[in-house]
């Protein structure tokens, strides 16, 4: 049976058990990298930010109160680091890992719905992408997602609504092309 996260956290805090922390990293890396890849649209940058997130989490593990799950707390730490990164290096949003618009329009028929959806999501704004990822992929409730993104619940719901409207528009365009 898998050891619960809170026991691993207690081991890290009590005995500085690095094996326990490595286990936490292994458990949550896919989830965190996925979230950060969605935000950055750059898997290399996401990988680096995810590593930084785990280091930051290790430093501040004592501050984890247990009010949320460890994964939710980790997503919050990751999102904060992403925002810090954006402040340091404000770059226009690019979809480096996603297909180019022209390519995707030309080849949409062969790529299928999943690729279309990915490309459509890549076109969304940063807040909307984060909201969609947290609620639809990570399975967080609206309240939890709002806590992670440090925004009011109403703002989060608006972001999700607008994201869905945009997705519908984009996907309708893909359907016409294919």
């Amino acid at each position: 049976m898998e050891t619960p996260d809170f026991i691993l956290i207690a081991r890290v805090l009590a005995d500085d058990d690095r094996q326990a922390f490595a286990e936490l990293v292994r458990r949550h890396e896919v989830m965190l990298c996925g979230f950060l890849t969605r935000l950055t649209n750059d898997s290399f940058l996401a990988d680096d930010l995810a590593q930084e997130t785990f280091v930051e989490a290790y430093r501040n593990l004592g501050k984890f109160s247990g009010k949320s799950t460890f994964s939710t707390w980790l997503l919050g730490v990751g999102y904060n680091l992403f925002r810090q990164y954006k402040r340091r290096k404000p770059t226009p949003e690019t979809a480096t890992d996603m297909p180019d618009t022209e390519d995707e329009e030309a080849d949409s028929a062969s790529r299928g719905t999943e690729v279309d959806v990915q490309a459509a999501i890549a076109k969304l704004g940063e807040d909307q992408r984060a909201a969609i990822e947290l609620c639809f992929v990570q399975g967080l409730s609206h309240e939890e997602a709002a806590n992670v993104l440090h925004c009011p619940l109403g703002t989060l719901k608006t972001n999700i609504l607008r994201a869905k409207e945009k997705l519908k528009t984009h996907l309708a365009a893909y359907a016409l092309h294919s």
Binding site: A14, A22, C33, D47, Y58, F136, S141
Partner: protein
Amino acid sequence: MKEENIMDNDDAILCQILQKEAAKRRARPSFAQDVMSRLPERKSHSGSRRTLLITSFALCGCFATAAIAWSDLTRFADGVVPLMNDMVAVKQSLAGFILVSPIAFVVGLVSALYFIARRARLI
């Protein structure tokens, strides 16, 4: 996606597509190793406890010394503080400390306990 978030069929389809894509995400084999190599050294707990004890003793010592000096000053009208190697004076000072400055003693004790509790994450 939690039940409360599901609004309509489109949401469910979108959710399904995204989760299908998320299921394809794979861990990078050396990711955990890379993270572990970047972790900073954590201060050992035995070291922390030692620091804590030293801090507490130092704090108590400071208050005790201050209390002794104060009681001596009040005891001797001429204001001459006796040397600490004078055992009689020390005894008198200790008695004076216990009798004359219970407030200083309590403050020192409470401060030390507060530091211990803070470091032990009890408060």
